[in-house]
């Protein structure tokens, strides 16, 4: 692993977006734990506070040999990992032309849509595919998690799907991070969620 880092001085930028309560922050904590243990420098930035009350939540996660800014430069996102459709399209301009996108196929209406004053964007997938072609992946996180018996695990399903982009990281490293960050009673469910997610992409 140390060798890999020397060869590749570049920093990888992962942008996570979702809605308060979806577990975006846990997902980013898993990434941070995995890439730190794999020998990289990591930085992660998020906004707490009022975002907890159903607002949009974003996390910037970066890893590489040496990471300076905790915030990704606008337009420099290598991977967009989004937990909700509207919150994915909101950040479409942030992604590099060759960037990869994983989206949880879920709609959560914001207040203006609930009130009938705005339309929920249609064809989010189409909009992404227009620019990113085969690099766009939709995952039915809720459905997969529901089949496992707990919708709350949808975030880890997404992490599992996302793990496919990093073949150099072994499954055990992801599982180890899950175990470090979650209470023991949640281990079985989330390990299953990780593997189901991995298969889904």
């Amino acid at each position: 692993m140390k060798k890999n880092i020397k060869k590749n001085g570049k920093v990888t930028n992962i942008f996570l977006s979702g809605v308060g309560g979806q577990g975006t922050i846990l997902a980013s904590n898993i990434l941070a734990e995995v890439f730190l243990k794999a020998g990289y420098d990591v930085k992660k930035a998020e906004v707490h506070g009022m975002a907890q009350r159903g607002g949009d939540v974003t996390t910037h996660f970066r890893f590489g040999k040496k990471v300076y800014s905790p915030i990704i430069k606008y337009g420099d996102v290598d991977f967009l990992l989004s937990f909700e459709l509207l919150e994915s399209i909101r950040y479409i301009n942030w992604v590099k032309p060759e960037g990869k996108i994983v989206i949880n196929n879920q709609e959560i209406f914001p207040p203006a849509v609930n009130l009938g004053m705005a339309q929920y964007p249609q064809d989010v997938e189409k909009a992404f595919k227009k620019y990113f072609k085969e690099n766009v992946h939709l995952v039915n996180g809720q459905e997969i998690a529901k089949n496992l018996g707990n919708m709350q695990a949808a975030n880890v399903v997404l992490v599992g799907a996302f793990s496919n982009f990093f073949p150099e990281i072994k499954d055990e490293q992801w599982i180890e991070a899950l175990k470090t960050l979650l209470a023991p009673k949640l281990h079985d469910l989330n390990i299953k969620a990780f593997y189901e997610g991995k298969k889904a992409l």
């Binding site: 730190l36 990591v42 009350r53 159903g54 300076y68 337009g75 032309p97 914001p110 207040p111």
Partner: protein, 603 residues
Amino acid sequence: MKKEIMQGNAAVARGAWEAGVKVAAAYPGTPSSEILRDIADTYPEIYPEWAPNEKVAVEVAAGAALTGIRAMAAMKHVGLNVAADPFMTLAYTGIKGGMVIVVADDPNVHSSQNEQDSRNWARFAKVPMLEPADGQECKDFTKMAFEISEKFDTPVLLRTETRVAHSDSPVVQGEREETTTPIGLDPKDTPKYVMVPINVRVRRKVVEERMKKLEAYADKFKYNVMEINDTKIGVISSGVSYLYTKEVFPEWSYLKLGMVWPLPKKMIAAFFKKVKKVIVVEELDPFLETEIKAMGYKVFHGKDVIPNMYELSPEIVERSLKGKAYKPPKIRVKPEDLPRRPPNLCAGCSHRPLFYALKKLGAYVFGDIGCYTLAAAPPLQALHSCICMGASVGMAHGAMKALGNEGLGKVCAVIGDSTFLHGGVTPLMDVVYNRGNSTTIILDNRITGMTGHQEHPGTGFTIRQEPTHMIDYEELGKALGIKSIRKIDPYDIKGCMEIIGEEMAKNEPSLIVCKNSPCMMLRRAKPLERFKNPFYVIDTDKCRGCRMCLEINCPAISWRAGEGETKDGHKRKGTVYINRDQCVGCEVCTQICKFEAIVPGQK
């Protein structure tokens, strides 16, 4: 050495622990709240407390430091406004054990009422200020701040901000070192701590002499670092602004200041000699720039191109410094065309029905700081001011004095339980003392809500969950001299309208306390137990699509457009829909529906 990923706030807590801190006090405030939580949860050697407000937190830390131990107080930027009184004079007295005040700024006001730049406090109070950029520096600078505090006999400010406090990065873990200063109170020190004019004049001079010594120290301070690369351009910066600039222009030379007050004058002079042009990159005020210009230097770029408001980012730094040469990324979708997702009160929140009642009453509502400030947003729009912690009570009193009898029945103040205890008790005393007639409503949800559930003197628990005395708001109101004290159930809209209407009309001070209305996320209070049914559904035979229930902005209720009619033939343009996963059965919408179209759902 063990490396762990730590949030900036957790790293500050770790630094305090490693520095041998024994007492830490705070009032929660984004983005600083996690510091004390982390201390309480992780480090048994430190006594932690949630103080009722930041002024008390600083006083508690000061008293502890006066005995010779190391002590810390933590707060958000506006918290230091509250604590300014003890802080400004502690700068004169100095301390005995190390004392550090952590102040967390919020550029771009992610969750605050203003965007002040706390570096100005350091210059104003004549105390040193350190500014870390990431987790490792949060820990290292916290430890260093205690050393400086003891070496120079001064409180030290540690300034973080949202992108430092709420960023995670690897931190090398160290061990705790106990301090060696003897512990005890010595009456011989009295002239140093009794700030009456004769003693103040002595200390006033000490402060100026101390600043001179600190200036000399700043030139040797190991976290003021010069990095000489390409000498065409040199950047003077600090904190996260340095990281953003370094990210975009790694080839330039840098003077990174770990101590932002006082400034290292010799080091700055040397930097100007080494590089051809100097750019100052800093968030918010031109603090460094003004000082550097006052030293007589010519700054190539500073606030002429770098914005003096909101937060910086790698993009903003690049755009500002490259000017026309900056190439923005391609716009694929215009983000302004997408519906925004502002924060909203939770489904079932007791603030929702209360503010609906206030709206129906047509009251002018003086608001305060907390989740309930969200009631100002459409469609509720039932809160009309929000200035600072506790302001609602005094402002309603002032408005009533101005309006006279015209104001009766039209004005009230609303304030959360934690906010009331922070800054609402004193103005309520004023209402009674000065023969006022305003109405104050305490929105008691049994916890400090918005910052993530911190205990306070009204919850009955300390930060470490030890049971303690619980303030009774009605008894407190009585002690202040209020005669008209009422209880309301915020979930009973009609009852609220009656009681609040009566109290606002009375020509005497009134206090109204919300009862049985815990925060929806406060599990120990079992907030769902009071609701009869687990969720409600729309009877589409009856829903006329009148949209009345949408007025409460419940996240569980949405509009479904589509022409149709009710069973008894009323034409409609759509119906509402209740998301059963989000509905908690609070029955607020059922009180608003005139057509009995909202009915209990079956599991």
